[in-house]
């Protein structure tokens, strides 16, 4: 194999890995490679993908956001209660997304201005927001109600456009925008610069704090978008929704080759990472593997994938 082919192989190794992985599952189980199942995988992956897109921004800056699961729950609950009180759908949706962005912005302030480690700051925020959600919902699910807004709202979770489930369309739009920002705008460049060398970025005349506010706000807003999908699908908001989702999102980002140290990676990898996790979940379900073993196998796959990635560096 010549050098150029080798480079090409290295560049697309995650795509190749994904395809090989899918083929193996397709051979093992004939129900896997059907249109309805594939759409199902994409649909199920959409929630994790949307959160992971935001998480990619954070991890690229060298940070981490553990509060996304709680943000998802609170945004969903707010949207549901607004809809239940007859608020127009668009207002409920925008309010939820703004709330998510605001929670992220708070994370950014605590981290940038308060100089608190992202891990600790967002761990605290995760607990606080979960608490707020439980207080707000009284620990009970909130139904989106019978107003007309609620009916349009459910389209977000289970509607279809040309046969494609709407959550998949949301995911595609989210990733297109995330890709655009990271590749083509100053903010994207600053996110990479900040993760590569914060001190040098500061000395280059960049307002590093602002970059952090924006990155965490994006992550919070996308967690809220995921919260809307979850809530719309069930037509109700669960107070415990999104628990542990932050870890799946981090796994997707890392599987996609983004370095936890920051500065390296991107959203294309993240889609692939999220799909690998989604396909794995789907395959284990199709093969009737019990949920206890599913966790065990998922953990091992993530570990092995990351180890392979590290070796090839």
């Amino acid at each position: 194999m010549n050098k150029k082919n080798k480079e090409l192989l290295m560049k697309y190794k995650s795509v190749i890995g994904l395809i090989v992985f899918s083929l193996i599952i397709a051979v093992l189980n004939d129900r896997f490679l059907t249109v309805s199942n594939i759409l199902n995988v994409f649909k199920q992956t959409s929630i994790n993908s949307v959160i992971a897109a935001g998480m990619t921004f954070i991890i690229l800056t060298g940070g981490i956001d553990l509060s996304v699961g709680s943000t998802l729950a609170l945004s969903g609950a707010i949207a549901a209660s607004l809809l239940a009180s007859g608020t127009p759908m668009i207002v409920a949706v925008i309010s939820a997304i703004l709330l998510g962005a605001f929670i992220g912005f708070l994370n950014g302030i605590i981290i940038a201005k308060g100089k608190v480690q992202p891990f600790i700051a967002t761990l605290a925020m995760m607990t606080i927001i979960r608490g707020v959600t439980l207080i707000f919902t009284n620990g009970r699910p909130i139904s989106t109600g019978d107003f007309s807004g609620a009916e349009i709202f459910s389209f977000i979770g289970s509607g279809k456009v040309f046969g494609i489930p709407f959550p998949i369309i949301i995911t595609i739009v989210v990733f297109a925008i995330a890709y655009y920002i990271l590749k083509n705008t100053s903010l994207g460049r600053y996110v990479y610069a900040l993760g590569g060398n914060e001190e040098a970025t500061k000395l280059s005349g960049i307002n590093v704090m602002q970059v952090k506010y924006k990155a965490y706000a994006i992550s919070g807003a996308l967690a809220a978008v995921a919260g809307l999908i979850v809530t719309a699908r069930l037509s109700s908001a669960q107070p415990q929704a999104g628990s542990g989702y932050e870890l799946d999102a981090i796994a997707a980002v890392v599987l996609g080759g983004t370095s936890l140290a920051g500065g390296k990676g991107g959203v294309i990898g993240t889609i692939i990472g999220a799909l690998i996790i989604g396909i794995l979940n789907n395959a284990l379900n199709l093969m009737d593997v019990t949920s206890y073993y599913q966790l065990l196998i998922k953990g091992i796959v993530i570990l092995v994938a990351v180890l392979i990635d590290r070796d090839s560096e």
């Binding site: 705008t185 060398n197 500061k202 307002n207």
Partner: protein, 498 residues
Amino acid sequence: MENIILRMENVRKEFPGVVAINNVHLNVYDGKIMALLGENGAGKSTLVKVMTGVYKRTSGDIYYKGEPVEFKGPKESQEAGIAIIHQELNLINELSIAENIFIGREFKNKFGRIDWKKTYIEAEKLLNEVGLNENPKEIVGALSIGKQQLVEIAKALSLNAKLIVLDEPTDALTDKETESLFKVMRKLREDGKSMVYISHRLEEIFEICDDVTILRDGEFIKEEKIENLTKDKMIELMVGRKLEEQFPKINHKFGKTIFQAVNLENKYLKDVSFGIKEGEILGIAGLMGAGRTELAKTIYGVYKLKYGKLILDDKEISINNPKDAINKKIAYVSEDRKKDGLILSLSVKENIHISALKNIEGKLGYLDRKKEKEDAQEYIDSMSIKTPSMNQKVKNLSGGNQQKVAIAKSLITNPKLLILDEPTRGVDVGAKKEIYDLINEYKKQGMSILMISSEIPEILGMSDRIIVMHEGRIAGELSIKEATQEKIMSLAVGEQVI
């Protein structure tokens, strides 16, 4: 014939793409002090690292006590009796003197408990040997740098060192501390220890050393007895060329005074005032810790001003952060490009543009890729940055080319005042000359350049005027005509110029 404790012959060390040292010889004699001299980048520290096994040599032989040796790492050479006292000390500030000396080799009783009584008695003995009158229970962080160095030497003695390498030990010392260090060195020499002494201060070499080995550009130049050398001869051997050739002087008329610092005062600076004209290079000399970088970073908005004002174009300006500074046309090239000058994980193109993305921002924040490429190519060509492509990650470039990218990154902001902090640190000799030519080119175009440097020949060769800093103050200003190495040094150490 004198006895040789350590002999290095025809030693060569290559790094990917660079020969760091070639054909170098070094003899260290029993009970003698050998000076190791050379400019920055001459290969002194590489040679020491090869000696102690930190680097594996590419070729050549090393004999220690007459036997060929092949140390696999500093631990092995230490066990064999070679100790190094680095400029940056390897002590743990939070631990006591005694704990530091015996760290990793604590005296223990049979239950594994540390025998403190014995530890302190042994430490006391060693402190006496190096003439340090301190309680061994004292915390190291509370000692002055000079005393900490003596603790390091005590530690070396406890390891039964036969050969001690001192790497620029006096750079951060006061005259008094230097004198007591020399006293200890003389005593160790009487006790039969051998030493290698690395220093830029030529007067000290005459005071303390027996022999001198001179390196230049990684090559061995000469070994000579100290009594056969003069200071001028030493400099000539070190530099290897006349200063005028290295630093082509541009004489032109300066413009008006463009920038003034008036009574700057903060944690690091005391009443610093100066002005600089268009097309002028103002050199800032001083020792490590004199406040030069802090002055630059204060002007650049990294450190806050407590008092004083900055005047640009006859208008008082306020600068609260680097962004303000760049907007006001002040740029800063860091002394440490890897730590805070460049983003190594980004490409050449991305680094060049990082401070000036605004210039290529279009609708929806879309960056104009075409203009970005054209601009980057322009700098790559005009500064002859050697890189396989503008998309190459900066971490893969050589030191000299990295430095050029760091300078390009500042130039693209179109500064009126360019602050260069150690512009040629860690840059090889060829690239140095290119950087000097570039600086002169910008000077010709009328840019005002504040150049901080620890290399006195560089300061003397490039500057139109020199200010020397000492403990946060301006100790003196010298016109280029009156400036000499001695005058700069004596101002730098806080003595009055006569």
